[in-house]
Amino acid sequence: MKSTAARDASDQLGQLLSRCSLGDQAAFGELYEATSAKLFGIALRILRREAWAEEALQEAYVKIWRYADSYNPGRGRPMTWMINVVRNHALDLLRRADYRAKEEEWNPDRDQRMSTDNPATLAETSQEMQRVLGCLGLLGEEQRDSILLSYHQGLTPTEVAGRLKRPVGTVKTWIRRGLIKVRECLDQ
């Protein structure tokens, strides 16, 4: 169940989006203020380079502004919609050959703040996240890792396979079957 505070925040974002759809730039500024740090964090986690994450964030907000009138609250919360806009942009950027080619330029030590999953962060997570994590916990460790590496870091099944030293076909099957199990667990 969603807490009252979370629901209020969600309603507020929905109202800001609906004002954006009427061309209200002040509402768009408030929306950016309220959500950009979260969306930037998500883009950084996938792209791992600040310049790329900035590009993905910029594209995502331009799209959110242009398509604010097509957001439908009946289909999901505003944050879900916006997070997936930025995720799709980040994944598209990551898959472009010229971005992939620059992989070796990335220095992981520079992005210490992105080394996450510490208990303090997890304590702040939502009940919905705990539920999804609970369902992922029912899977085998490698299967769970495959899903999380793909979701959080945008690794391709080939890259996941390289990291886990498993065949790529196995990884693809793990991801698909694992997610179907998660769905069954969430639907219970």
Binding site: S70, G76, W81, S126, I175
Partner: protein, 255 residues
């Protein structure tokens, strides 16, 4: 059709939302999603299931220049959007962007159009509706990412439909004898091969020979340059004014 099988749809939808569909497979899936509402609903359901995972991602304050850049882009856009009717008509819930929106219109529009149109050539009218669905589509955008031309390729018989999405007269210089030359950029080598010359005014339906079909099939993208009318150059003589990925709408899905 294969893509209508619920199990395949579910496997594709969850892979897509989890980030495990890549590159052209990802683009093709986005195009498919807009021709199949059931597929889009599955994606939305998966987004609702999995997005809580992103909730725990630490917040990072973006630099102020990002907001300035966004503002610079939305201010003129806000004014332009009011005057461009078709742009608004493309609104849909999932904002995958102009590219996918145009794809949706093209794919659904042409499928219906070719099947129902009485004046269609006999060889088209006799085939079943599935066979007249487009095989490849490319939405060519200008440097400002605004869609300019849609090129759709069909087989049985091989043919191409080229449709301008807006008035492109400002690009052409008929007095200078320049026309739009469409090129196919080969997927593996990046080689540019000439396809057809067109002028920008009307929707064109053009037959395609076998080499043209192969060029489409093996292309990564299509681009347009301005070239002299009547001559077919071996390579572009000027930078591309429009370009867009060429998407296979029916190929085997890599999941």
């Amino acid at each position: 059709m294969r893509y209508d099988e619920p199990e395949l749809q579910e496997a594709l939808a969850c892979s897509y939302v989890a980030g495990a569909l890549q590159g052209l497979a990802r683009r093709r899936f986005e195009a498919l999603m807009h021709t199949r509402p059931a597929l889009r609903q599955r994606v939305e359901a998966w987004e609702n299931r999995l997005t809580p995972l992103a909730d725990g991602t630490p917040e990072v304050q973006p630099p102020a220049r990002v907001w300035r850049a966004i503002q610079g882009r939305i201010a003129p856009q806000a004014a332009a959007a009011q005057s461009v009717g078709w742009w608004h008509s493309l609104a849909f819930w999932r904002p995958f962007g102009a590219l996918a929106a145009v794809l949706a219109l093209v794919v659904t529009g042409y499928t219906g159009y070719v099947v129902t149109r009485p004046a269609a050539p006999p060889q088209v009218a006799e085939v079943s509706p599935q066979q007249v669905a487009p095989s490849y589509v490319a939405v060519l955008e200008d440097e400002a990412d605004q869609p300019a031309l849609v090129v759709t390729a069909f087989k049985g018989p091989w043919r191409l439909i080229v449709e301008p999405l807006r008035d492109l007269a400002s690009y052409e210089s008929p007095e200078g004898g320049k026309v739009f030359q469409i090129w196919a950029v080969e997927r593996d080598t990046g080689t540019t091969r000439p396809l057809l010359q067109v002028t920008g005014g009307a929707v064109l339906r053009l037959p395609l020979d076998e080499s043209g079909w192969v060029a489409i099939k093996t292309s990564e993208s299509l681009v347009v340059t301005l070239e002299d009318a009547g001559s077919t150059p071996a390579a572009p003589s000027s930078p591309a004014i429009f370009s867009g990925l060429c998407l296979n709408l029916k190929g085997p899905e890599d999941i």
